[in-house]
């Protein structure tokens, strides 16, 4: 038996695979005091003696702790002269000089950022030896302050970590029980602010995650001691690893859905796809090329949700992650009219409480969900498998008075306008992951999931010229399902900063070889079967002093030949920017991904287990489709689609609704997917 659980802000989704032939789903409220208990009670509920092979888990614990400022008291040891690096955040400010703007408070307050006398230069040479007295003085200060964790980040330690290691020894002698992170281990890459911030986040999460896992495993251990955690990169790690590298699990939640989408696309042999996950407060998009999600090496946490990658003012976090772009548009996003008389949606969300007007729980401002109910898209009586009542009249009334009348439109046209505007916002997320990176979005298929994704998908695609949408089975629980498919993965990085032409094939092979033996020993130590381990060699390369590196995957027999790498780079640059890029090439970093080769489960396997979907009597209801007006629209179940059907259609499921507008057709594909196609 395998048990997957995805703990979100409101709900915990549990998926249990029994006897390799039966899948059990549960959705329970996330109660932090009961973490773990709800999981084991779900297992007990199944009344089986089958042992649990392992648990696999996605969680927002790490990101919430940072975003809500709930990390424990943490100290920072740094090179003399640099204690303000963390606070100054590269001096980035607010572009439009908004007089109300203020910076995020630093994760370590100034009195706990202490300096030690030492200096290493950019070439690794020690210019000033580590001064023992200054080190001990700083460590004693942190001891007196009773910090729970210490981050160590010294200038140029990514080139030569000798002083960081010496400091670590001293810290361990004085404070053997204090959590400790070294920048040269957590993130050995250049640029001091980003490295410091990443190391501080890791250190401050160590107590949080260790405590969390202690509580969780206390319950889970009754069934199995093997707990895997979803990482931001879409692979899993053991809980033992998570206890050392909690930064790897900051984007744990959204990654699982993307992983499920990429596996689903692979099994159905769709080439390039976009995953689109829309929930209550945000919509998330990720580009999947040929079955592989696009990744990024840099990110941030705590800034505003934005499709705009350059405006970030969050804490820098350099950890390989799936390149997911999130925008503040979800079912709960509130509608308003701005000073230019334009209709706006989000980013403020009504959340689950009070929620949309139609939930009848005190919400008064219309939301995207209210518009979907008003238009007839969502069931006007109940949703969520009958657990939540809906008041369509209340939704209509709120839209009429707050949107339609001020804008002098009919109520339905106003509701339809709300959907168009929400879709325009989400379009920005889709563009940010595709066209902004030089990929033609129009040839791709959108994989839509999350509670609200399949309602919006077709109309959203018309906006950007996408002509096919795929809705997988159980779209509302798709992320939890993704956990069951995840492979183990570990990432490694070495900074080189050298001219590519000065490198040789032998040198590359030696560096990668060293990282590979490190990976093998890490797998061994975690008792992960390394026999099917696959290595991917990656190089970050830049032209001259260009700002950003481009990442190349090195494949094939001559993959580490510098000339070959140069050719590949020019081609990739041409594709992305329209010209090959002149000038010397520098190899910035080498990276290694170590991934177990086989997925523990496939959608094919799941499909053969005959996943249940609901059935009911076909009926019709009125739904409004813009220029087509209000139409009597058939309401059907997924199962009843046995031939291609023309829109308009409403496909109702337990956890979501699929809207097939006029001009679109729906058919059922392999693996129980619904394929929507646009007909001009």
């Amino acid at each position: 038996m395998r048990v997957a659980f995805d703990i979100g802000g409101t709900f915990t989704d549990i998926v249990i695979l029994q006897d390799n032939k039966q899948v059990y789903f549960a959705k329970v409220l996330s109660l932090i005091d009961k973490v773990g208990e709800d999981i084991v009670s779900s297992i007990a509920h199944l009344n089986t003696n089958e042992p649990v092979d392992y648990f696999v888990h996605a969680t927002t614990t790490a990101s919430n702790a940072v975003i809500e400022g709930k990390t424990p008291r943490t100290g920072l040891l740094t090179t003399r002269g640099f204690r303000d690096v963390l606070e100054l955040m590269n001096q980035k400010g607010n572009r439009l000089l908004d007089p109300r703007w203020t910076r995020l408070p630093p994760l370590v307050p100034r009195p706990l950022r202490l300096e030690v006398t030492e200096r290493v230069l950019a070439d690794g040479m020690v210019a000033k030896a580590l001064d023992f007295d200054s080190a001990m003085q700083a460590i004693f200060r942190l001891r007196d302050a009773a910090v729970e964790a210490i981050a160590v980040c010294l200038i140029n330690s990514y080139v030569n970590p000798v002083h960081e290691r010496a400091l670590a020894e001293l810290v361990r002698q004085v404070l053997p029980n204090c959590h400790l992170s070294l920048s040269s281990e957590v993130n050995p890459e250049g640029r001091e602010y980003e490295r410091t911030s990443t190391t501080v986040i890791n250190a401050s999460l160590l107590p949080v995650i260790n405590h969390y896992l202690d509580r969780l495993e206390k319950h889970l251990n009754r069934y199995s001691t093997r707990l895997l955690i979803m990482q931001s990169n879409g692979g899993t790690m053991t809980s033992a690893m998570a206890r050392k590298r909690p930064i790897s699990m900051v984007e744990s939640g959204p990654a699982a859905g993307v992983l499920a989408a990429s596996q689903y696309a692979r099994e159905l042999a769709f080439g390039d796809v976009l995953s689109f996950d829309m929930g209550g407060t945000t919509a998330k998009a990720c580009l999947i090329l040929n079955g592989r999600p696009i990744e990024k090496a840099y990110g941030e946490i705590g800034g505003n949700v934005s499709a705009v990658s350059m405006r970030g003012t969050g804490h820098a976090l350099r950890v390989p992650s799936l390149d997911i772009v999130e925008v503040g548009a979800g079912g709960g996003s509130m509608v308003w009219i701005d000073e230019a008389g334009g209709l706006r949606v989000g980013p403020i969300s009504a959340g689950a409480d009070p929620g949309p007007v139609c939930y009848g729980r005190g919400g008064t401002r219309p939301t995207v969900t209210d518009a979907n109910v008003a238009l007839g898209y969502m069931n006007p009586v109940t949703i969520a498998d009958g657990t939540l009542g809906i008041d369509r009249n209340a939704a209509l009334e709120a839209i009429r008075t707050q949107v339609a009348e001020p804008l002098k439109m009919s109520t339905l046209a106003a509701a339809y306008g709300i959907i168009r505007v929400a879709n325009a916002t989400m379009t920005r997320a889709l563009r940010a992951v595709s066209t902004e990176r030089g990929h033609d979005i129009r040839k791709m298929t959108l994989i839509a999931f999350g509670g609200a994704g399949p309602i919006h998908a077709a109309a959203l695609c018309e906006n950007v010229g996408i002509k096919t949408v795929l809705v997988p089975p159980h779209p509302g629980l798709f992320s939890a399902l993704g956990l069951l498919l995840a492979k183990t993965r570990l990432d490694y990085v070495r900074t080189l900063e050298e001219l590519l032409r000065d490198m040789s094939r032998a040198r590359f092979d030696a560096i990668f070889g060293e990282m590979e033996s490190q990976a093998k020993s890490d797998f061994d130590r975690q008792n992960i079967d390394g026999s099917d381990m696959r290595f991917e060699r990656i190089a970050d390369i830049r032209v001259g002093f260009m700002r950003d590196e481009m990442t190349l995957t090195l494949e094939g027999p001559d993959s580490t030949d510098p000339d070959n790498i140069a050719v590949q780079f020019r081609e990739a640059h041409q594709r992305e920017f329209g010209f090959p890029g002149e000038g010397d090439l520098y190899i910035v970093n080498t990276r290694l991904r170590a991934v177990s080769a086989t997925s523990p489960l496939s959608f094919q396997g799941l499909h053969e287990m005959a996943l249940q979907t609901s059935t009911f009597e076909k009926h019709t209801r009125m739904a409004y489709f813009g220029a087509f007006g209000e139409m009597a629209t058939p309401v059907i179940s997924r199962r009843s689609i046995d031939q291609p059907l023309r829109g308009p259609l409403i496909i109702e499921e337990k956890d979501t609704t699929v809207i097939v507008p006029p001009n679109w057709t729906a058919s059922r594909e392999r693996l129980n997917g619904i394929l929507l196609r646009y007909k001009e």
Partner: protein
């Protein structure tokens, strides 16, 4: 006007300008462009800015101002697909000459439908000094090559004559051309996406939305101006440098805001004549700083486009510091930008005291050029921000800039034989006030090999003035410590040139930023917090703040056991 299309279109245009920005940013060669000194926008067929784009008001204004010059120059010849116009001429719409603008026309069914436009600060533009922004130039001719809206490409064919001329006259010209390529890639992408948007919605509906947005912006600005009591409100700031470091000089920048119903006249009468150095403001920057200030004070959340500026008129005497006559040099105008904003905020504070904040400050530069051990040359333009000043009901933000970031220390050390010994905030330098301003930011460099340095200090003589009774921040300082010698204070001046030898150290401190409101009214808890954080020493607290502090709380804050 369709309110839904309006919002859809706004999202699409933002997305396009952002796409342009990402393209430029990622393909750029020079460090200065990498730090973010560039902007992207879209222009309609009439040459009007239709949205701010990924730009600040200052740069958006430059775009608004250059477009009429371009339309006028090519009104006969017209534009063809594949044309690219290039401009950096302060006397033809641009600002100081290193800011090079690239413009590409956009077509719909063979008709001109608009333009995509990008500027970036290029690392050089030829001329007497590397970088092209020293105050020590006396005439425009010394400042480099002037490009007055030339067609770099005509119908897709590059004018090789222009390219050869540029390459022969500009330092590190390969890197320079790389930045031009980056802007071309950005404009090209913007133009293509803009065409698709027009195709999708139809040119008439798109133009109708533009008209609406421009009219709306004008109406909003008129309403905001009309809400200010009719009257004349003046502010002044003083420049203490003639550009050559002559001691004891001063030149006023005077602004009178004349509110006349729904119209605002910005009158610079009383401002100094233009200078013989390069400290003059290119007129497009004068307009830009005023628009930026007026818009952010009066309608911060409103749209900004060509309509926003219609209700604002100017009286800026030709031949003055803020509207110089050719061939005045303008490259060193940065210090005047900050003084102009001081004067503007001071004028506004006379009528809207409860709303006006001390403007953000900084943007000092240490420009280093020299040779590495292997003989190759390097240039590092290090840029440091001051920080944000005191605001009504809020402290400033320590050491925060704008959208640009500073250069990472580890990057500076990798690029050239320079060691940054320290970088951070200086205690006791925040302008005192009920809401204090930012502390000074400093950096200290040690040079491993000989190098040529230019230090640009925006406020070499005194820090900016406070508002509502707030005090000035600590002054800027530059120390040079020659090997084996005592530190010497460098001569005061906005642009100081020097040469250094191995082992020499340079310390630069940006001025602290002023506070807002009387220091005597500061919350004692905030004073204690600053003491606990080491941002204020107890002695300075006593000097700067006539506020009595609880001795026990003070003892605790001073003990270093308070962790905020």
């Amino acid at each position: 006007m369709d309110p839904i299309l309006l919002e859809v279109l706004r999202n699409e245009l933002s997305s396009i300008t952002e796409e342009m920005a990402i393209t430029v940013h990622r393909t750029a060669k020079s460090p200065i462009l990498r730090m973010g000194d560039f902007a992207t926008s879209l222009i309609d067929a009439k040459g009007r800015l239709v949205g701010l784009g990924a730009a600040m008001h200052l740069h958006a204004t430059m775009f608004m101002r250059v477009m009429p010059f371009i339309l006028d120059k090519y009104k006969g010849a017209g534009f063809k697909p594949g044309d690219v116009i290039i401009c950096n001429d302060p006397y033809a719409g641009a600002a100081h000459m290193p800011d090079v603008i690239v413009v590409m026309p956009v077509f719909h069914q063979h008709q001109l439908a608009g333009f995509s436009i990008i500027y970036s600060h290029q690392p050089d533009i030829g001329g007497r000094f590397p970088g092209g922004f020293s105050s020590h130039c006396a005439e425009s001719y010394e400042e480099g090559i002037r490009l007055s809206n030339l067609k770099l490409y005509e119908a897709g064919v590059r004018n090789e004559g222009i390219v050869d001329l540029l390459k022969a006259n500009i330092r590190a010209s390969d890197e320079w051309m790389g930045d031009i390529e980056a802007k071309l890639a950005g404009c090209w992408r913007g133009a293509r996406e803009f065409e698709q948007v027009i195709e999708k919605h139809g040119i008439e509906r798109v133009n109708a939305c533009f008209e609406y947005l421009i009219d709306h912006a004008e109406r909003t600005m008129r309403a905001a101006i009309a809400a200010v009591p009719v009257g004349d409100y003046s502010g002044e700031a003083m420049l203490h440098d003639d550009g050559f470091g002559t001691p004891g000089v001063q030149f006023p920048i005077k602004i009178t805001l004349r509110f006349r119903g729904d119209k605002l006249i910005v009158d610079f009468t009383g401002t100094s004549r233009q200078l013989k150095s390069a400290l003059n403001m290119p007129y497009s920057n004068t307009l830009g700083q005023v628009f930026s200030g007026v818009h952010s004070v009066l309608c911060q959340d409103g749209v900004f486009n060509s309509g926003s500026v219609k209700p604002i008129e100017f009286i800026a005497p030709s031949g003055s510091l803020v509207n110089p006559e050719f061939p005045a040099a303008v490259g060193g105008r940065a210090p005047v930008i900050f003084l102009l904003t001081d004067a503007l905020h001071s004028a506004f504070s006379k009528v809207l005291p409860e709303r006006i904040w001390v403007p953000p400050d900084g943007g000092d530069v240490v420009h280093i050029s020299g040779q590495r051990a292997d003989g190759s040359t390097y240039t590092t333009m290090d840029l440091m921000w001051g920080g944000w000043g005191g605001r009504p009901a809020m402290d400033g933000v320590d050491g925060a800039g704008r959208s640009y970031s500073t250069v990472p220390v580890e990057l500076i050390e990798r690029e050239g034989p320079v060691v940054v010994e320290s970088f951070g905030l200086v205690a006791d330098t925040g302008g005192p006030g009920k809401y204090r301003g930012s502390l000074s930011v400093f950096r200290e460099y040690r040079f491993l090999r000989p190098a040529k340095i230019m230090v640009r200090t925006n406020r070499p003589f005194e820090a900016g003035a406070g508002l509502a009774g707030g005090g000035r921040g600590g002054p800027s300082v530059n120390y040079l410590t020659r090997v084996g010698r005592e530190p010497e204070v460098l001569p005061r001046g906005t642009h100081v040139h020097l040469e250094v030898e191995p082992g020499d150290r340079l310390y630069h401190r940006v001025a602290g930023v002023a506070g807002h409101g009387p220091a005597s009214e500061r919350d004692p808890k905030l004073i204690l917090r600053d003491i606990a954080e080491g941002k204020l020493t107890p002695n300075a607290a006593q000097e700067q703040y006539p506020v009595s502090l609880d001795p026990e709380a003070l003892r605790l804050a001073t003990s270093g056991k308070e962790y905020c």
